[in-house]
């Protein structure tokens, strides 16, 4: 038996850095691989315990009646965008957003626009336009959303790698698909007594369901 030495096959000469760099560039161009963590916006603050990150190109449907904490939830997703140096916008159906609360939620106000008093027939156009150039678009839903409009917006968000966050009293009001649905259920407040103290903390209850989240999770948050 004659042993034939086997040369290990190499993709490119080890020392030729330039060639290796070119090869890597070709690979990236042929099969673009974007790691999931690069496509995610990391949340901070109390919401991060429930939802550590939001995938770009996905839809998050948030629901909750006035006072249950739904606005704080959407603001923390908007804050994730501005913290990453990107832009966020909110379509304010009622025109009642508190700007100071947005700042306290961590939103950089210089990169945060609020669109107010949108006529109902222009709502889908406005949201579609916002998705063109803004990373996180929080849209408060009008009483009825046509399924066709909703599907178009889902496709637009996916195509532009933007996050569409819908906000309505009920998370199920969004007629199309959503990666995550969050229903805020409110909760008790602390710090306030009978004529003394001041509002401090609350423990809102949040129900969350969606892809990658087993079943329905009910969480209590502090803050």
């Amino acid at each position: 038996m004659v042993q034939i030495p086997v040369q290990p096959v190499r993709a490119s000469p080890r020392r030729d850095d330039a060639a290796r760099a070119r090869l890597a560039a070709v690979g990236a161009a042929r099969a673009p691989v974007v790691l999931a963590r690069d496509r995610a916006l990391a949340l901070t603050g109390p919401m991060a315990a429930v939802l550590p990150s939001v995938q770009r190109g996905s839809v998050v449907a948030v629901g909750g009646a006035l006072g249950t904490g739904a606005t704080s939830a959407v603001l923390s997703i908007a804050a994730a965008a501005t913290a990453a140096g990107e832009w966020a916008a909110l379509v304010d159906g009622m025109g009642t957003l508190g700007g100071l609360a947005a700042a306290e939620a961590g939103v950089d106000l210089a990169r945060f626009a609020v669109v107010r008093d949108v006529p109902r027939d222009r709502w889908a156009t406005v949201v579609a336009n916002l998705l063109e150039g803004v990373t996180v678009v929080v849209a408060e839903l009008p009483p009825t959303v046509r399924i066709g409009d909703a599907r178009r917006l889902v496709a637009r968000a996916r195509e532009r790698a933007a996050v569409l966050v819908t906000c309505a009293p009920d998370a199920r009001a969004w007629p199309a698909e959503a990666a995550v649905r969050i229903q805020a259920r409110g909760g008790g407040w602390s710090g306030l007594g009978a004529g003394d103290g001041g509002l401090e903390l609350r423990a809102p209850v949040v129900e969350i369901s969606g892809r990658g989240i087993p079943g329905r999770v009910r969480l209590e948050l502090a803050g």
Partner: protein, 523 residues
């Protein structure tokens, strides 16, 4: 010390060039417009009151007989080429800034022609021989001062450049925003601006301000420690078949410009002067330097190469044949001090996209429909935020202080007395929703002038809240505010409660003139 420079400048070159090719008649008012705005005017039009920056309509209103032409940069470059060639007989180091303006360092040619005076005369003669009689010449220390000297057609003696610059208005810096700021600061002349300490200028106005300050002091825009670029930064392309047409060569030039600036940027360098070299198929070799005040962008560089190609390929007495080789050589590079990003940092492209989108929606709905929040001083949540239409300046109102605000835009300021404590409510109802605040026996809760309660609040009724009514389970306050006590017509006494209704819903309730309302909901 700034490099002694000769600058030759032809005022209103676009008009002069148009007249030279016969596109514009002489002795009548002429204006050249670019994107609807007047970019250059003839002497006659200026006398009639037409100004650069006017709209076409305005120009026609000022001088009804005016001839209005569209701007043609290619024509300007072509017509200037003979002037550049004539000057090239004096010195090989001719640097073009744009068609109509060229400069060169005087050191060598000045000695040859027996001093600056001799050179000045020689350049004048050469230029007059080309037939461009309107051309002016100036010599001073530094390119900026030389350009101003050319406006006056004077020669500034060596070392007297700061004195020459001092009386010029700050507009001469060519930065409108900076000039506006300086005038508001009471600095109307370059001399006054130059008198400021450089460190303070850098602290207050940043790098751009410092560059302008160097110019005002009669120094070069960039510190003289220019790095010589390593020779391998040349970008060249062989053209096969030879390029006979400008657009074919310009297309290649664009790729070269992009690659060159990208490679320089990778080394942390930016380019302020570039040499364009070309070779024709009969071996004729051409070279011309182009300078730019700031760092060249790919767009600006491509534009300059295009002008040069226009000059070579289509000027009278052109080339023997098509171009076979084109190369771009960085001649002066400076450390790249970074692109000017948005004031708050971030990606410039993303910022442009977002701005476009917001502008589009403002076009769709009206400017007041897209707003941004600006924190300001105040007691209630509604007072502490000012909503500004997107695109308008975000500066706080002049009577800031701003309350301490958490988050990335926190501002350090003295406390605002009477601010509602605690977290900010996420929903601020404007106008406030009418409500009724009742005590345990169903009587409205009232507050005396001294701030004493008639009874404890027990029930809140408000149509805007879910359920419409609820039991008050906890409360804080009332905080009494004298609102606009100095104004007889609008002054009011107001008390504010923080209430928790049914243990879950927190809101702010005002009572003003005996009428209760819900002003904000914590959501």
């Amino acid at each position: 010390m700034a490099v002694r420079t000769l600058c030759s400048w032809c005022p209103d070159w676009p008009v002069v060039a148009a007249r030279r090719v016969g596109r514009a008649p002489s002795a009548v008012p002429v204006a050249v417009v670019e994107r609807g705005r007047v970019a250059a005017v003839s002497i006659e039009a200026r006398a009639a009151g037409v100004r650069i920056g006017n709209r076409r309509r305005e120009a026609e209103a000022e001088a009804p007989e005016i001839v209005v032409l569209d701007r043609d940069p290619a024509e300007e470059a072509r017509e200037f080429e003979p002037v550049a060639r004539a000057i090239e007989t004096i010195t090989p180091r001719v640097v073009l800034e744009r068609p109509g303006v060229l400069s060169f360092p005087t050191r060598g040619p000045s000695r040859y022609h027996g001093g600056d005076g001799g050179l000045f005369e020689r350049v004048r003669e050469t230029v007059d021989a080309t037939g461009v009689s309107a051309l002016r010449v100036g010599i001073a220390d530094g390119a900026f001062a030389a350009r101003l000297a050319a406006r006056r057609n004077v020669m500034v003696p060596a070392g007297e450049t700061p004195t020459f610059l001092a009386p010029w208005p700050v507009d001469a810096l060519g930065d409108e925003a900076l000039a506006d700021l300086l005038v508001r600061l009471g600095l109307r002349t370059l001399g006054a601006f130059a008198g400021l300490p450089a460190a303070s200028v850098l602290a207050r106005m940043g790098r751009e301000g410092l560059t302008a300050h160097r110019l005002a002091r009669g120094e070069d825009a960039h510190p003289p420690a220019l790095t010589t670029p390593p020779p391998d930064f040349e970008e060249r392309a062989e053209l096969d078949p030879p390029a006979e047409r400008v657009d074919a060569a310009a297309f290649v030039a664009k790729g070269l410009a992009d690659r060159l600036l990208e490679r320089l940027a990778a080394r942390g360098l930016a380019c302020t002067q570039v040499v364009v070299e070309a070779e024709t198929k009969y071996g004729e070799s051409l070279s011309r330097a182009w300078r730019h005040d700031g760092a060249l962008t790919p767009g600006a560089l491509t534009e300059r190469v295009r002008w040069q190609l226009d000059g070579w390929l289509t000027a009278t007495g052109g080339l023997s044949g098509g171009l076979t080789r084109l190369s771009l050589i960085p001649d002066q590079v400076i450390p790249a001090s970074g692109r000017q990003l948005g004031f708050w940092g971030g990606d410039a492209a993303a910022s442009d996209r977002a701005e476009q989108v917001f502008a589009r929606i403002q076009g769709l709905l009206g400017p007041e429909h897209v707003v941004t929040a600006v924190p300001q001083g105040g007691r209630t949540p509604a007072e502490r935020i000012r909503w500004v239409p997107w695109g308008e300046p975000r500066e706080p109102s002049p009577h800031a202080p701003i309350g301490p605000i958490a988050g990335p835009v926190s501002v350090e300021v003295p406390p605002w007395p009477g601010t509602i404590p605690g977290p900010a409510p996420a929903r601020v109802l404007e106008p406030a929703a009418a409500a009724t605040l009742l005590d345990a026996v169903g009587q409205p809760v009232v507050v005396s002038a001294r701030g004493d309660l008639s009874a404890r609040p027990a029930e809140l009724r408000c149509a805007a809240l879910p359920g419409g009514r609820g039991v008050v389970t906890a409360w804080a306050g009332p905080w009494a505010h004298d609102v606009r006590w100095w104004d007889r017509a609008s002054r009011a006494r107001r008390v504010t409660w923080q209430l928790v209704v049914d243990e879950t819903l927190a809101c702010l309730v005002n009572v003003e003139r005996g009428v209760a309302s819900v002003t904000a909901v914590y959501d």
